[in-house]
């Protein structure tokens, strides 16, 4: 029995950690490159989830197989991340890059509030359920416990794919090299012909797309309802801070840690579920203020 609970805890932690990673890695990428802590990042998670659930419900209304939902999730995530994220960068963030940090925080917080209200206007306050993609991939049984393959195989695979894909992108492609160069030294990058504005734009829509992908993939596992963006931004901030802001690989480990911490609390100390991620963050930051993997020296991603 206790072995089963242990396994359940681990599986839950991995599934949840994978989703949190997708969101947190976008937050940390944007921070690492642009030095902006985007509070509205959580809105993209929520928007991705709403967009995915709505599209999914349209599919089932027309009796179309839920297998089409998986590619549609990606389409929804990219559409939300690129359009809403692109507009936000182009028309709002671009004006405040040179401003003080508190102002940047206030502005992104204001955008978060606005997007939260937009969601309520568009989707109302009732929860949405579109869970077919969750069961479609079947179950795996581990020490007698059936668990959905979507959560214990698919989501972790997506997280790993994003982790290694992002590292490959930053290290091996020209666009990635430009991001790395601008992160390290914006002026020196400009002086060799790099358009830092374009790089910021690209980075930001990659970040917001990752958040909305997290939301889209989370939608079958949960009820989509107001407030989910707020919960996620705080959680992914905890992950990013625990790892060290700007640390991509570190975010994966911190997400796993926090996912496991949360699931242990669910099973062993349910009343602590909500605070465990922040407890982990606080403990880590007390001993390592720059985060588990953070460096105090040169800026890098």
């Amino acid at each position: 029995m206790s072995l089963q609970i242990l396994v359940l805890t681990v599986l839950d932690g991995i599934a949840y950690g994978s989703l949190v990673f997708l969101v947190a890695v976008g937050l940390t990428l944007v921070f690492g490159v642009m030095r902006i802590l985007n509070v509205a990042h959580g809105s993209f998670y929520a928007l991705g989830a709403y967009a995915a659930a709505s599209l999914g419900l349209v599919l089932s209304a027309y009796g179309i197989s839920a297998w089409f939902a998986y590619p549609l999730f990606i389409v929804a995530a990219v559409a939300v991340g690129v359009s809403v994220g692109g507009l936000m960068e182009r028309f709002i963030l671009r004006r405040i890059y040179v401003r003080e940090e508190y102002l940047q925080l206030l502005v992104t917080f204001a955008i978060f509030m606005i997007l939260d209200n937009v969601q309520r206007l568009v989707w109302g306050v009732q929860p949405y359920f579109y869970t077919e993609p969750l069961s479609l991939m079947g179950n795996v049984t581990i020490v007698g416990i059936p668990y959905t393959a979507y959560q214990v195989i698919f989501l972790p695979l997506v997280a790993l794919f994003i982790l290694f894909g992002l590292r490959w992108f930053l290290r091996k492609t020209l666009a990635g090299s430009l991001i790395v160069a601008v992160t390290e030294d914006r002026e020196a990058a400009t002086a060799i012909g790099i358009n830092a504005r374009k790089v910021f734009f690209l980075t930001f829509i990659i970040g917001t797309t990752l958040a909305s992908l997290g939301g889209a993939l989370a939608s079958p596992t949960t009820s989509v309802l107001p407030g989910m963006g707020a919960e996620m931004i705080v959680l992914s901030f905890a992950v990013a801070a625990t790892a060290g802001l700007g640390q991509i690989g570190g975010a994966a480990i911190a997400a796993l840690l926090i996912g496991l911490g949360r699931s242990s609390a669910v099973f062993f100390m349910p009343e602590l579920e909500v605070v465990v991620p922040y407890l982990i963050m606080v403990i880590v930051l007390l001993f390592r203020p720059e985060g588990l993997f953070g460096k105090t020296t040169a800026r890098k991603i």
Binding site: V180, A181, E184, A188, T190, A191, I192, G193, I194, K300
Partner: protein, 225 residues
């Protein structure tokens, strides 16, 4: 080739450059000297578009004031900043190649330019695969020169290249610069220096800046010849 007309720069409302005007001819090397804080770096940054400046900058007769900073290197301007500013995440060769990749030069053109850089600075070839963060300060100056040369086909801006170089390296750097001028006679170069003596036998003219204003322009080409 390059003409600065009444260039003025203020940072936080403090005037840093005041009506700086001078010309650089094609193939000419200018020693741009002045004490610490005189405004040498600011002048070079203004040419690169990295600070907002009043006045006008002309390149081959064309005003570049409205050309954005990131578009200026493609006009054939290479810049080796004072403090090197290499990208430590990349190797030495990646640092040198990055400007060419950004400018989307063809592979042939990139190779040709890389060979030119290695021809003038063969030591760069030996450290090509080393992380740029691991080279010494002096070697870093060479790398910054090599990187600047990739796009600097018309104009090269070198900000205090000799500062902090051990004598052996400084000689090596000077030798490389001479080789560069011998292979490319149309290249214009501005070298800044706080110690004017160092550049006497390099430059055709010495332009002195003091507290943000041009103090003197001295023709020394006859001395050299």
């Amino acid at each position: 080739m390059l003409e600065l007309k009444d260039l003025s720069v203020s940072i936080a409302r403090i005037p840093i450059l005041r009506n700086v005007s001078f010309e650089v001819q094609e193939g000419e090397t200018i020693a741009f000297v002045g004490r610490n804080g005189a405004g040498k770096t600011t002048t070079l940054r203004a040419i690169m578009g990295l600070v907002t400046a009043q006045g006008s900058i002309l390149l081959n007769g064309q005003a570049v004031d409205h050309v954005q900073a990131h578009e200026r290197p493609a006009l054939g301007i290479g810049y080796a900043p004072e403090d090197r500013r290499l990208f430590s995440a990349f190797t030495v060769e990646e640092n040198i190649l990055l400007p060419a990749r950004v400018a989307q030069l063809t592979q042939d053109e990139t190779n040709r330019r890389l060979e030119r850089v290695y021809g003038i600075l063969p030591e760069l070839k030996e450290m090509a695969k080393r992380p740029a963060g691991s080279v010494s300060g002096g070697q870093g100056k060479m790398v910054a020169l090599g990187r600047g040369l990739m796009l600097g086909t018309h104009l090269l801006l070198l900000d205090e290249p000799f500062q902090g170089l051990a004598p052996v390296l400084a000689n090596r750097y000077a030798e490389a610069l001479r080789a560069l001028r011998d292979t490319d006679r149309s290249l214009s170069v501005i070298i800044t220096e706080s110690n004017p003596g160092l550049l006497k036998n390099f430059a055709s003219r010495v332009i002195t800046i003091e507290r943000g204003e041009i103090e003197s322009v001295e023709d020394v080409s006859k001395v050299e010849a």
